[in-house]
Amino acid sequence: MGEVLEIVLRSLVVSGTATLLASIWSIALAYLLVRSPRASRPLIPLLEGMVGIPTVLIGLLLYLLLSRQGPLGMLRLLYSPQAIVIGQAILITPLITSVAYRVLSHSWNIYGELTLSLGAAEGQAAKIVISESLPGVAAAVVMGFSRALGELGVALMVGGNIKGYTRVMTTAIALEVSKGEFELAMSLGIILLLMLAMISLTLRFLGRLRE
């Protein structure tokens, strides 16, 4: 049970950190794109296309970058939790950005124009628009977390599934199944499912708040 708890906690910390990092730049990027229609016209379809990018592809690219002979090899990050955090943050950036863009864009059309017409400076308008879109932006973040928590490719390729160090729920499930040890895989699978269900409920709750 101790090992399961450790794996669950590590998964939450790694995916949580990745989500936090990705949220910071993704929400800022989404807002900038809302305010720059010229940039958003080509970039948003591109980001939306990248939402479904295979996790193994990100894993492979990051592996090439972080491996000893790679351009970032000197950082010695390969097979570390930090590498998984970076990979997952990259993986969920298009998802959070494109969902936050839709939410902020809708909100800007309503509240941005309103606050500007009332004499708001750009910064004041941004504050109001983001505050009015909080449930929607939070939903984008929760979706990102859900994707990070459930991905396997990045965690396996740049994390290495090292016991007590980089093993997370998805890599542990894959390993246990390959060994024919279904008991641990099943318990982890159930925990993962429960977590994703909780995330889904949170999304529904946030959706209701938006209404």
Partner: protein
């Protein structure tokens, strides 16, 4: 020019091939009420949004007190924009009560909170709407929300007020109150432009009426001079 001037303004929405406005020239002066009348889709709202500095003209100039709003630097533009407030046809309220919403506009311009709240309370009371003060936006009817959004704009103390269909959701009693408020603001020196289908409001309050048709100003003059329009519609 003590107010806003649109000079030979052409405008089309991004992605559209059709011109929404074609060479509109118009002045909105302090101390007078200008009513924009015309059928749906004629360009009345677009004119108001251009006059509010919310849309950039595709061609032509929009001048606020002789300064082209789109040629001045950011801080000057903000200073000029703060002289004008546009009120949407569909009332948009921020989170909170009527009082929070009305106090928001002066707060945005740096007024101390106590003073802003006092101003909001005064406006609600002057328009027989004090009962709304603690009402949350989710509990308000469309008419109540419209009253609050107009009062919020007034609380910002603009020199020019742009009202888009200000009586669209109001009952007869509230229309009377709003007509009175418009007259009072004009007498205090505020310039007001109203886009409206409410011909009674236009006839009662306007010093000048501009008839907008297919993106051009068909005619402009005193209400009595454009009476033909009111007969047709």
């Amino acid at each position: 020019m003590n107010g806003i001037e649109l000079r030979e303004v052409w405008f089309r929405y991004p992605g559209s091939r059709e011109w929404t406005l074609r060479g509109v020239s118009l002045e909105i002066r302090r101390g007078e009420v200008l009513a924009l009348v015309g059928p749906n889709g004629s360009g009345k709202t677009t004119i108001l949004k251009l006059a509010g500095g919310l849309y950039r003209p595709s061609r032509g100039k929009v001048k606020f007190w002789r300064s082209n709003i789109w040629e001045v630097n950011g801080s000057r533009r903000l200073e000029l924009r703060r002289m004008v407030v546009y009120v949407h046809e569909r009332p948009i309220l921020l989170r909170g009560t009527a009082l929070d919403n009305i106090a928001f506009a002066p707060l945005l311009r740096g007024m101390p909170r106590e003073e802003a709240v006092r101003r909001a309370e005064e406006l609600l009371s002057d328009t027989e709407s004090a009962y709304l003060s603690r009402k949350d936006r989710r509990e308000m009817s469309a008419g109540e929300a419209q009253v609050v959004s107009i009062l919020r704009a007034v609380a910002a103390s603009p020199r020019i007020l742009l009202l888009d269909e200000p009586t669209a959701h109001l009952d007869r009693e509230k229309r009377g109150v709003m007509t009175g408020l418009i007259g009072k603001l004009r007498s205090e020196g505020m310039g007001i432009a109203i886009a409206t289908h409410d011909h009674l409001l236009a006839l009662r309050t306007a010093d000048r009426v501009a008839v907008v048709e297919n993106g051009v100003i068909g005619s402009i003059g005193r209400p009595s001079e454009v009476l033909d329009f009111f007969k047709i519609y």
